[in-house]
């Protein structure tokens, strides 16, 4: 296996809140290989965005604390200086955000915003940058690129804006693209366009993508490997096909089961009882224990470690202590 482009090692990001310091991302480790698309799924608030912002060094400096290692091409970003981070951001690692509506500055033209990275990182002049921006816009399928350059974000539809965001992220040919829920705010038909586009870019430029989403469908479609997060922790990790076919963690099982399938109609959906815990509210044991139907005494007192399976799948659950344990997914399927 070639060396990963990025390797995150026991990353822990905590925020200073009224209730003291609360770890929102709790000692997570994963890596992304060159040219690979890694999916990160999990419910709202489980720490997906904070993870990506930690990598970018964009978590608010005064209220947060980032610990652990983020090795990007061997360099630890967690300890890198702000000046060094600035060189990396937008240049080697780029990011697309969830909200295409608000992620563009409404008061500057598309052109100005697109060319900014080039002018910062490559010190290109206006003309060069503009030419490249137009080229990029065409690449992401924006037809009338020239005229769009002088328009303002509000004149564009959501799908167009998201494409501008992608163009903006890709313009300096980064080696890693972090896409934080890039299609959540979009309509299905537009989402299909954007996903198609990202797939194409990934294949053509070999840019590694960290794809954050809560839509399992998107993961299934886009990613090779995936990470499932719950309450700031990674609960399962592995190849997409492996996890979809044989999810091991009860949360992953529940997640896959509770999505209504468009192809067939179930009488009743599976649902995970209870609600996502507030970060910091759980101190001991497995964070999923209060909602878990397989909960054991041990789960309430001891946090389970991540177990590695032969196929590279990793699961954080006491059910699989020492690599054994029940295959709960089949049971769930058969009884539904």
């Amino acid at each position: 296996m070639e060396s990963p482009i990025i390797e995150v090692n026991s990353l822990q990001t905590s925020f200073q809140t009224d209730d003291g310091e609360v770890p929102v991302v709790n000692s997570i480790s994963f890596h992304i290989n060159r040219g690979e698309v890694l999916g990160i799924v999990g419910e709202s608030g489980c720490g997906k965005s904070v993870t990506s912002l930690s990598i970018m060094g964009l978590v608010p400096a005064n209220t947060s604390k980032v610990q652990g290692q983020i090795r990007f091409k061997g360099e630890n970003l967690a300890t890198a200086s702000e000046a060094r981070m600035r060189k990396i951001r937008g240049n080697e690692i780029a990011m697309i955000f969830q909200e295409p509506m608000t992620s563009l500055n409404p008061l500057f033209t598309i052109g100005e915003q697109l060319t900014e990275s080039l002018r910062i990182h490559r010190k290109w002049n206006k003309k060069q940058a503009r030419a490249r921006a137009i080229e990029m816009m065409k690449l992401v399928g924006l037809g009338r690129a020239e005229s769009l350059m002088d328009e303002y974000p509000h004149q564009l539809s959501g799908g167009m804006r998201q494409r501008v965001m992608i163009a903006m992220a890709m313009i300096c040919e980064p080696e890693l693209l972090i896409a934080d829920e890039p299609t959540t705010a979009l309509d299905v038909t537009i989402q299909a366009q954007i996903l198609e586009l990202m797939k194409k870019l990934n294949q053509e430029t070999k840019t590694a993508i960290m794809m954050i989403t809560h839509d399992l469908g998107v993961v299934a479609e886009m990613c090779q490997r995936m990470v499932v997060m719950y309450a700031g922790k990674i609960v399962e990790e592995g190849d997409v096909s492996a996890i979809f076919q044989n999810p091991k963690h009860p949360y992953t099982v529940g997640l896959i089961q509770s999505v209504p399938d468009m192809r067939e109609k179930k009488e009743r959906l599976y649902s995970i009882p209870g609600q996502v815990p507030k970060p910091g509210s759980q101190k001991l044991g497995c964070p999923f224990a209060p909602r878990c139907s397989h909960v054991m005494d041990r789960c309430l007192s001891e946090a389970p470690p991540l177990q590695l399976f032969n196929n590279g799948q990793k699961v954080r659950c006491w059910l699989y202590e020492d690599g054994k344990g029940a295959d709960i997914y089949d049971a769930a399927i058969s009884s539904s």
Binding site: P273, H294, A332
Partner: protein
Amino acid sequence: MAELINNKTPLTRPPVEDSAISPWKEGWRSFKKNKVAVIGLFIVVFFILMALFADLLAPYSYETQKLADKHLAPSAEHWFGTDEYGRDILSRIIFGARLSLWVGFISVAGSVIVGLVLGLLAGYYGKWVDMIISRIFDILLAFPSILLAIAIVAALGPSLRNALIAIAIINVPTFGRLVRSRVLSVKEEEYISAAKAIGMKDGRIIFQHVLPNCLAPIIVQGTLAIASAIIECAALGFLGLGAQPPTPEWGQMLAESRAYILQAPWTVLFPGLAIMLTVLGFNLMGDGLRDALDPRMKN
């Protein structure tokens, strides 16, 4: 493993905090965390208590003159010195708190009530009602406020009551506009649709739903307006359009002592400080309230 898909498990567990906390109480909780705001509250409470217990606190009478003791410098007997009539400045400041606070509260109450009614009408009914009321606000707002107050006081005669009326009038558009803009946004809130969907009548919607949700910014603005009303009243007093002597009023005290700034600077210093502190207290408190009551300030 049938229990895994057993949907009859209780859907919810009791949330962590078990008591019912109203938005106001929660506001108070987060207000308490804001140290600066609590200092503001302290200052305000301090002055309110001072006003309430002026009779007990003041070492001397505020009106008894002793012309022989004119302009004594601050000393153990007269902490803040004496004024040109030989009256104890500390006592006058203590009694002066009554008037200044009273002015603040009453004039703001007046403008809040009028502003609230006009703002609600304009915001909720829109169209020509809004047109007319908004134009009136525009007109009032475009007037230079001090001059407007002076003219009002000149028209009604200089007295505290009229100064109050003047200050209240010049503050009406501030509140009116605030309420109106709040109403406009609250009106679009989903819970108003929800109320309509239930079949609720306009009156009930306005009083049950729109009004309470306009209150928080008004309370904030209100405290800040009390602060500015005190200053405005002092300014009117400074121009000689204020309280009935010998009742002490800080602005008037300042104005009267102004001529003595060189010989007896304390006569100017202390009333000015008193105004500043009170106003500062209200401002600090208002700021704290803004943060506490504004949901946007919370994550």
